[in-house]
């Protein structure tokens, strides 16, 4: 798959805009999901995920073919989400929390056709709670927890995406895990 993407990127670099459509289609769910988990709501996630692809397109010539495209794309998306979190107005943040819409909003996005049986609704509540706790982590821990456990990147890949030393990734994932353990231990 990475090979197919590399070929498409070559075409995009040559000026073939249509080739970029396949790249977006291939990564859209992953990048949207990443933004959603980082930001906690659908509206901002869509906005930032689109911005990530547009930035990737406009700056495609600064992408080094020798590296993994997904790493580069995740880096753009991650930086944009962190930027957005920093720029959030305090009142907006407060508002989002009082309504408790974060989690519910998220689960209205799930790809599911069947109505949920009762025990699943219960576990939905738990999942919503877990998601909420993740989204409460400071961004530098949240990013790593999401990349590692929800998007399955190795610690080395995370260090490439975030452009920070592997040792720092390890320190942060330890602290992130401990913070979540403390929050979830009584559930």
């Amino acid at each position: 798959m990475e090979f197919m993407i590399k070929e498409k990127i070559k075409q995009v670099k040559k000026g073939d805009q249509a080739a970029f459509e396949d790249v977006v289609a291939f990564y859209q769910n992953k990048i949207y999901q990443h933004c959603f988990r980082m930001l906690g709501n659908a509206h901002e996630a869509e906005d930032i995920a689109q911005e990530a692809f547009i930035r990737a397109y406009v700056n495609i010539h600064s992408y080094d073919d020798q590296r993994k495209f997904s790493t580069w794309l995740y880096r753009i998306a991650t930086n944009l989400t962190i930027d957005r979190i920093r720029k959030r107005k305090p009142d907006y943040y407060l508002d989002a929390e009082i309504k408790g819409a974060d989690g519910l909003d998220m689960y209205s996005q799930l790809e599911t056709d069947n109505p949920l049986p009762e025990e699943e609704v219960e576990s939905l509540e738990l999942k919503s709670y877990i998601h909420h706790e993740i989204s409460e982590l400071p961004p530098k821990y949240r990013t790593i927890i999401i990349l590692r456990y929800l998007e399955d990147f190795s610690l080395k890949e995370i260090s490439d995406i975030l452009d920070i030393p592997l040792g720092t990734v390890k320190t942060r994932i330890h602290r992130g895990r401990e913070a979540l353990r403390k929050k979830l231990r009584h559930v």
Partner: protein
């Protein structure tokens, strides 16, 4: 073993797959005797399982299409523009260059006179410049608005602006091996962009060579 410092540290190393055999057995040994650490370890593993239990989220419908609609419109010369964006220093130099030598385009389009950078020992026949056999041109050779045939030797780079390098091998005369020699790069400049590029690079090379002297 110190619970807070060592045992918990080893648990995290275990979770990252960094535990050595020796560390693993000392952790296992500790866990067998320490209930607090057992609990801590269990909570950590449960936390990870829970984090991982959240579902996949899919992008809204028409996501790809709306990204495509928002991309800057593709133009024919967009690749040049992107190239310039990706190389801001050269772009700045190009703008500087255009202001400083704004005659460049008119020179490119209007001037069709044959120009050779040096003329000693060279033969000019119509629009063709010939480096005769046995003659060695020392240094770079630039020919503008004319073709070049090299039977002799050029000890330097050759640049052809609006012209071709003529093949001097004469078939059937067994002279294939005696073609002229260029001890440098051969470059042909035919397009406006290449022409600008050629000037820019010359400018850079002179700047850098000045800098390194």
């Amino acid at each position: 073993m110190n619970c807070k410092k060592e045992a918990v540290e080893l648990m995290h190393k275990y979770l990252d797959g960094d535990l050595t055999k020796v560390e693993e057995s000392s952790l296992v040994q500790h866990l067998e005797t320490c209930e607090d650490c057992q609990k801590h370890f269990h909570e950590l593993k449960r936390t990870i399982t829970w984090i991982q239990s959240t579902e996949q989220i899919v992008a809204p419908p028409n996501f790809t299409q709306s990204v495509m609609d928002k991309l800057p419109k593709e133009k024919k010369r967009i690749s040049y523009m992107r190239w310039f964006k990706a190389h801001p220093v050269i772009t700045a130099a190009a703008i500087f260059f255009i202001f400083m030598f704004s005659g460049v385009f008119s020179a490119y389009t209007h001037d069709s006179q044959l120009i050779v950078s040096k003329q000693e020992d060279l033969i000019i026949k119509g629009d063709t410049v010939i480096v005769p056999e046995g003659v060695t041109v020392e240094g770079d050779l630039v020919v503008k608005n004319g073709n070049l045939r090299i039977d002799g030797t050029v000890d330097g780079n050759v640049t052809l602006i609006h012209g071709k390098l003529l093949d001097n091998s004469i078939e059937g005369e067994g002279l294939m091996a005696s073609v002229g020699e260029v001890n440098g790069k051969i470059e042909q400049v035919d397009q406006v962009f290449e022409w600008m590029w050629y000037h820019l690079r010359n400018m850079f090379e002179s700047i850098f060579s000045l800098g390194t002297v």
